[in-house]
Symmetry: C2
């Protein structure tokens, strides 16, 4: 079965009370803020220099390369976000700024198509010799994604041509043939990008190069990256890679044999996304089986309730099943974005809504938490429990920041959030010839081309605070099928067609209903009350604890609402949390509250550290806000998991 | 008031049912095992090479220096342990081996007295130029301690002369005078060693050099170590020191102004021990006040219930008040040994038993846990909670080992345990002209010189399992005072003299009783039932939890007794834990048991990660063994803190 298509972003207009504040921020605030960050114009933020690097590489400015080896990729992700924003609505000034950058990239490109400011400026003659750490292919991957998006948004080919020239060089350089390099990227990303480039250009060598990178990974007698490190004159870019483990880059086994998610979490989910693409395009069952097993391993054993992944602060990596510490995890924003990319692909291929359940979880929680409500500061690491006092520099918790940062030395997350928010329209629907899949409950108006012709759909909702939405098919649609996602938290799922309850068949998380819906309005209603969620008891960190959820939203306790020392709070779970609108909070937010108890500390002097005394408990009302919104009221404690009163 | 004297180890014979198995192991097993480790003769253990380094430095062997910059210090601590062992009982063969090493050190010594195999072999001409990382003074400190001990044990001066020559060089090199270096050690240790050297030689310049190192630390316009790093040609020995923070070496403030324990925990407590020595010798009230405040900061806010210190795995350091994570802490064995050294000094100066309470806590728990019951494997890091599955290499928990190691690349802890166990006899008593202080309840026979003459004391006990001991004063002692420690866990403390209850006055944790006890036997009895201990609620990691203690012993749950997943266990604290002898366990061990509940996992499929279902609980009996003995039955989960059933 053909994989589901996604709506063209040009044809999607989001209008949603929950999401508008975030998605509209991309155009009104984020792109300009990030532009200034990339030009070192944000006060007290770490320098980026990434635009200046291109000027120097183009010979138009003096100075030295500055930044990480993958600094160019920030520019790429920013351009990709610009492209999606322009697709939604033309903006001459924004386009002019982007065109200027694209032209600059073109001028920095070398005669043979190569461009990468780090290698041009700092390591000329060393290209493709340190694939493990060099990130040239990773960076090109992001450039390709940006160029594809820019082409789709504007119809212009300039950027596409630039990346094609380097993609051609890559296709000529890597491959199974003798004389070519038999390596693959140390950080996956180009694989899924080359698939996108193939899809927009029809040029098969891009697909074949992607497939080669997938096929060669983890094969051979000796790991490619370890061989690289044995080359004479090899010098580590990252000191921590001196003692390199192939698991880090998922190169420990041929990909088709991998069954557990290992290594650096962002690398992993970018790889798995490409594996899904290729499994579909090549009808590669073994590859697809690996995707399924890897997905299951993540979401059934290695994923936070917030959709975060990567349990270890060191090496930003997966660890072992059920190891999900809350206060020292990594849970990188980019990793959750990658999980969304992977899940969307799996849903497109399988028409199984369980992949959307997870993508939705990641989007509504970790991805959104990655950015402040004003769009001007960001989390790279997403803990589920923070005690700011112990998030100290030069300690085991130094990677955990208790407040969002204006920018980062390694700034992958901010522009990744921008491109995700600006492409949210692609996650709402999937479709094939006859069937329209409604995946996310986000208000929008969208046009799509089904076999019966072009249709216009509009969706209205107050989700996630009201569990109902109306879906209207405008104009003449003819006979079609609607596949309406039944989320895993839905109870009593019902569909009404112009007021009359409709019969549906449920399959793999979708309610299927067929007919001619031209000019009709469907109303979908389900129950989903605020609930207490527990983790599998194998998750040591969460035993005896609950978290509160409403729909896909995970809730968190903050010091601002509950005072300090959230670890001393117990939730009384005998009645459900109550939900109410707090009109003052962030311009109107639905909060949860529940009865609880807290350990009384008044019988302890500050200098008493250990004694026999039995704890006393005080009754308290516990208040929680969406995890996505935490840390928008200054520094303070936060926790998702709360002790359960038994 | 003069500080209390300690018994000469030559005059103490320990005979104690609890401690014998550990202390006797030093001579029967540990010294030989560690000798073989230092000579790279332990299979599958990391190489040490530390003896060979001396041979190479002496020009008697080819090859290159191998090991850490402070590799020599392992030899020193081993020699110190040998010295204490020889003091207890002469052993010609052991002494011959030690003499051989001492002669070798002498042959490796340079004409001007300098010896340090790293700098002789690897960085000739660079001595004292990288005090921050070079550890020359630290290493010399351990050599001095060993030489002093060896002199006291054997009466021989050869080793003492060797270290005096380098100590003379150090005294000539460092000091306030113009032309001298105005620096101090990056790792404190030599300060307390120079005080010992002064005490045994009477040579005042050693004391003055120690005082200089204390006085100069943290002074000056710019931190000495940061200045060092700015020297031309400076090269970091430890990459992680590139971004050096003076707090790490307690050089962020003049020591008299320090109020919180900061930085590397071992460095800190070695420094504070020397500060206490000097505060006493110079009657320096400001310095002593700093000692008191630093002690209080540690034991009231930054110490584990096991006497472990150092909350951060990264940089092995103190973090912030009440930050005491159980599963990712450092809690280095050496740091607890340093805490014992500091506490002993504070008790000697103040005659306040609260310092002994802490030293006892560290000795009976973390120090003992640092070594296996067979003496052949060691913990460097002492967690209070271990789930072996997640103690993975290259993750945030990589420093936590779930089983004791045969040896270490940095092997400071094993010989430090050896010197501590072999000098345990110094911790039992303190005394001045008239008063004998009984600090630890360890069976022994000891001779001491009071003003009234030489007395012989014997102490018999089954402590910590029975809370009674008898103290007999043999021969003619004359009128004297006994100060018998009332430990912080004692209830209903009573003293009987030959069967009749005696009246005592209590002051600062001691029961004072005076009289002529010649030929008399005192029996001390107190109640101390097994108990549930809670932490100050500000300790987030322990809220809602209890640990079990009996006397000074902290108890731990192990998987071997309680099955896996100890985080799912709740202790019913409504009745006290029961104590009983398990004759099979480690040749007879008193274990604790209590009623409890555990979360039932049977309704969770392995692939279910999050759901609403309320937890069900199963009644269970919980069994705990002394923390000191954990991990002597193979790999498994362990926890000290257990959820409390409320």
């Amino acid at each position: 079965m053909e994989k589901l298509k996604l709506a063209d972003l040009k044809d999607v207009k989001i209008k949603d009370p929950f999401w508008d504040r975030h998605t509209q921020l991309v155009k009104s605030e984020i792109l300009d803020y990030q532009w200034r960050a990339m030009n070192d114009q944000i006060e007290d933020a770490p320098p980026s220099h990434c635009i200046e690097n291109f000027r120097i590489a183009a010979g138009e400015s003096d100075g030295e390369f500055f930044g990480a080896v993958f600094q160019d990729s920030d520019v790429a992700k920013w351009l990709e976000a610009v492209a999606y924003t322009l697709a939604a609505e033309p903006d001459a000034e924004l386009k002019k700024r982007a065109d200027g950058v694209i032209d600059l990239i073109g001028r920095a490109q070398q005669p043979d198509g190569y461009f990468n400011t780090y290698f041009i400026l700092k390591e000329p003659g060393k290209r493709f010799q340190n694939l493990c750490e060099g990130h040239e292919l990773y960076t090109l991957g992001h450039m390709i994604e940006a160029a594809v998006a820019y082409n789709q948004a504007t119809g212009e080919r300039r950027f596409l041509e630039i990346v094609c020239r380097m993609a051609d060089l890559v296709a000529d350089t890597f491959g199974p043939e003798e004389g070519k390099l038999h390596g693959m990227p140390g950080h996956e990303e180009i694989e899924l990008a080359l698939v996108r480039l193939y899809e927009v250009t029809g040029e098969r060598k891009y697909l074949e190069t992607a497939k080669y990178f997938i096929d060669v990974r983890g094969t051979g007698e000796k790991n490619y990256f370890l061989k690289e490190m044995e080359q004479e004159g090899f010098r580590n870019i990252f000191p921590e890679f001196e003692d390199y483990q192939p698991e880090y880059s998922q190169s420990h086994l041929p990909v088709r044999e991998q069954r557990t998610a290992e290594g650096h979490a962002v690398r992993a989910v970018y790889l798995y996304s490409a594996m899904a693409d290729l499994a579909d395009l090549y009808h590669d069952e073994k590859l697809f089986e690996a995707c399924t097993k890897l997905w299951d391993n993540i979401v059934q054993r290695r994923m936070y309730v917030t959709g975060g992944i990567g349990s270890s602060g060191i090496l930003e990596r997966f660890t072992t099943d059920y190891d999900l510490p809350n206060d020292c995890n990594y849970g990188e924003t980019c990793a959750s974005i990658g999980l969304v990319l992977f899940g969307r692909r799996m849903a497109q291929i399988t028409r199984d809504a369980r992949y959307i359940d997870v993508a939705e979880r990641a989007l509504y929680n970790t991805v959104l938490a990655g950015i402040a409500l004003d769009g001007k500061s960001f989390f790279y690491v997403n803990p589920l429990e923070v005690w700011p006092d112990n998030c100290m520099e030069r300690t085991s918790k130094e990677h955990v920041k208790s407040i969002r940062q204006k920018w980062f030395g390694v700034a992958c997350c901010p522009p990744n959030i921008a491109r995700t928010l600006s492409s949210l329209g692609q996650y709402i629907y999937g479709y094939d010839k006859h069937t329209l899949f409604v995946n996310l409950f986000i208000g929008n108006e969208t046009e799509l081309e089904l076999e019966g012709g072009r249709i216009r759909v509009s969706l209205e909702t107050e989700f996630p605070y009201k569990n109902t939405y109306s879906l209207r098919i405008h104009g003449e649609a003819g006979r079609m099928t609607l596949a309406l996602r039944i989320p895993d938290y839905a109870v009593d799922y019902r569909i009404f067609q112009d007021g009359t309850e409709a019969v549906y068949t449920a399959e793999k998380g979708y309610a299927y209903i067929s007919g001619d819906f031209s000019g009709k309005t469907l109303e979908v209603r389900f129950r989903s009350e605020p609930r207490f969620i527990r983790a599998n008891p194998a998750v040591r960190a969460d035993e005896g604890k609950v978290c509160m959820m409403n729909g896909p939203l995970v809730y968190a306790l903050e010091e601002a609402d509950n005072g300090a020392n959230l670890s001393g709070i117990y939730l009384d779970t005998s009645t459900r949390p109550a939900m109410r609108l707090d009109p003052e909070l962030f311009g109107g937010t639905w909060v949860l509250s529940a009865d609880g108890y807290r350990i009384a500390a008044d019988s302890w002097a500050p200098g008493e550290l250990y004694k026999e005394e039995k704890p006393k408990f005080l009754k308290t009302e516990v208040r929680a806000i969406p995890y996505a919104y935490w840390n928008n009221r200054g520094k303070g404690e936060m926790t998702v998991w709360v002790k359960e009163w038994i």
